[in-house]
Subunit: 393 residues, 2 copies
């Protein structure tokens, strides 16, 4: 009955697919690999309880009052210090704005940069939350194929030449949905191609800290070499997602414009949560905490990959993630993943079919599996059920 | 340097005016009536501390995990119960979505309903945060004059006839910036005019609970008589603003569309805060707490009105608010409020000049004063300084 009232932008924004999937997968008897939830045993509950009582003592009413749009200075300073330490980034708190989770960072960036029909380059496949966010701003998505080592360089050349995108959105570390990571060589090749383009590069990095192996971190694409880089980060996967705290690192002029957009969007992010996480970070060893999460997720990833190697038919391909939260499964050409989904649900195991990760989904034979929110035993059982479903399609 | 990258919508969104004002008003020697902050002594700090420890015990990891876009069921149920009790509203939790403060409610409504150039009716003057939010979605604002008793009915007739607005945004109780409240008669006259129009009515009510006198509450415009009503509420002024928790009550179809928009905007609001406020509300007497705030603000409002009556020149008019947080001052025709602002700052007293509350500010001779965030003595001193500045313009 309200069809005539709704805006064009929202009528074109997808939502029902994932919502339907999640409805099915929430039944208690289902082993679900469909979500993207951190394992709750990774939350530092005791430390956070100490911090919440401490900030209540130390700051009194301030933790409940209105605050500034850019975010709490001490939290922004922590981010500055960490990125200086890790990446030698030449930044100050004026380069940083706190957002209501990384999802809001995507929304604000869409708001600030995208006019209807602007070309935005994304990986194929890409993060569904980004596709949804930028769809609201009526972006015209153009895609570049993602290979095991990063972006397909030939495809990138074509995309840049044909579409001259205004923005590019990439997840170089343990990508969602594929779990893939760009190699250092690939990053260099990408940067060589884009550095003189009239394009902003957004590198979203919620999973970068969750590196399972002791190999060195791989620097961002064009790290410190351009003003046109925006870096997105989040505390969701390394401390707690429920607090909804992410951030954008960018040129000051860009941050000021995003600040205007954020002021109109929610004035500021929950300030209690900012005090809480800031206190936690300054009073605990984040790296030590991350080590625990990595160990946990590594064993779960190994359980999943191991079970897939053992049970899956040989014509089914899957990624072997070296970090992050997901693996990406590709069925034989021509197979319909929705048929597999129905068979899998009948066997009480769930996943996300590839559709919402594509700009124009058709003949989809891919699916995303999450391994962070179940123990290794459950993972083995789920993969076993899934492999039985695989033999039926 | 990024001018060519920014979207048209954001380039047209105002922000700098208020930011400049607030910069000046934040010096410690200034008595500021410019803000809109609740008095921090009104926050139930002890009770919230008990609640935060209780939810940590009761719910464990859940208070830190990802959650649902619509918001915490118990909090939504509390709102249902309260609106049923107060207004006999026929609603269920499916009519409610929790937002990251009321400001996000405005952003989401703009996103879901406004196409570029759509006519949106607002009061003259209106809430600056709304003007900013809807400006992002390139609304075409049309205004209806606000009188002491509510909307100017003749002006409303003209506005409806001439512009056929798609949306109307009104603050019927203790309006921001004027402090004015629509009478019951005015509400009826407004509803008679709009009920058959093809228009959605948004009634924003952050201050309705802060009624200084023991007169009965005045029902919303067209309460329970139309599906085209959206009601906005907030815990910012009655519990704590820093938690950023507001809500929208509307038809289920509308709520579902807003849910899609919110999913793309920030996935969900901080869930810790939702558990915290929900626990606080179920374990304390909100009405008793509100009584305390009302008593406090009433004495502060009286101090301000009393001082204005004593000190202000007779040709300066001002509203006498019966609730809420603001009073609205009108200088003699032809006076420039920015000149007064400069004189006032020189005397270390600050306010918000009327400009950001108008769609097309020109020849502005009005200003907003906030009385909730200073004690009565400070208020008297500030008004005295302001009255001295008034004699100089």
């Amino acid at each position: 009955m309200f069809e005539n009232y709704f805006s064009e932008r929202i009528k074109n924004t997808p939502s029902s697919f994932i919502r339907e999937i999640l409805k099915v997968t929430q039944k208690p008897e289902i082993i679900s690999f469909a979500g993207g939830l951190p394992n709750p045993i990774s939350f530092p509950q005791e430390e956070l309880k100490i911090s919440m009582n401490r900030i209540a003592e130390m700051y009194g009413a301030k933790i409940y009052q209105y605050s500034t749009t850019l975010g709490l200075d001490t939290l922004r300073q922590y981010i500055v210090d960490r990125y200086k330490k890790l990446w030698n980034m030449d930044i100050s708190i004026e380069n940083i704005i706190i957002t209501t989770g990384s999802q809001q960072a995507l929304d604000l960036i869409g708001k600030v940069f995208i006019n209807e029909g602007d070309n935005v380059m994304v990986e194929k496949p890409s993060y569904l939350g980004l596709l949804q966010s930028f769809c609201v701003y009526q972006a015209n998505f153009v895609t570049t194929k993602l290979n095991d080592d990063g972006l397909d360089i030939e495809d990138l050349k074509n995309t840049l030449k044909t579409y001259k995108p205004k923005l590019a959105y990439l997840i170089p570390n343990f990508q969602n949905p594929t779990g893939l990571t760009y190699t250092a060589e690939n990053r260099k090749a990408v940067f060589d191609l884009i550095k003189d383009e009239d394009m902003l590069l957004i590198q979203d990095d919620p999973y970068g800290e969750l590196r399972f192996e002791d190999t060195p971190r791989i620097p961002y694409i064009g790290l410190n070499q351009t003003e046109k880089n925006l870096y997105l980060g989040s505390f969701s996967k390394i401390v707690t997602p429920g607090m909804r705290l992410g951030y954008i690192i960018a040129n000051k002029e860009i941050i000021r414009m995003i600040e205007t957009a954020k002021q109109a969007a929610d004035l500021h992010s929950n300030i209690f949560g900012q005090y809480l996480i800031s206190d936690y970070l300054y009073n605990n060893d984040l790296d030590k905490h991350i080590e625990k999460i990595k160990k946990l997720y590594k064993s779960q990833a190994q359980a999943m990959v191991g079970a897939m190697e053992e049970y899956f038919p040989k014509n089914v391909k899957f990624t072997r993630p070296k970090g992050g939260m997901f693996t990406w499964v590709t069925l034989e050409e021509g197979k319909d993943v929705m048929k597999l989904f129905d068979k899998a649900i009948a066997k009480n195991v769930a996943f996300v079919p590839g559709h919402p990760f594509y700009v124009n989904p058709k003949n989809v034979n891919t699916l995303r599996l999450n391994y962070t929110n179940a123990n290794s035993e459950t993972i083995r059982e789920g993969i076993k059920r899934l492999s039985e479903a695989l033999t039926e399609v």
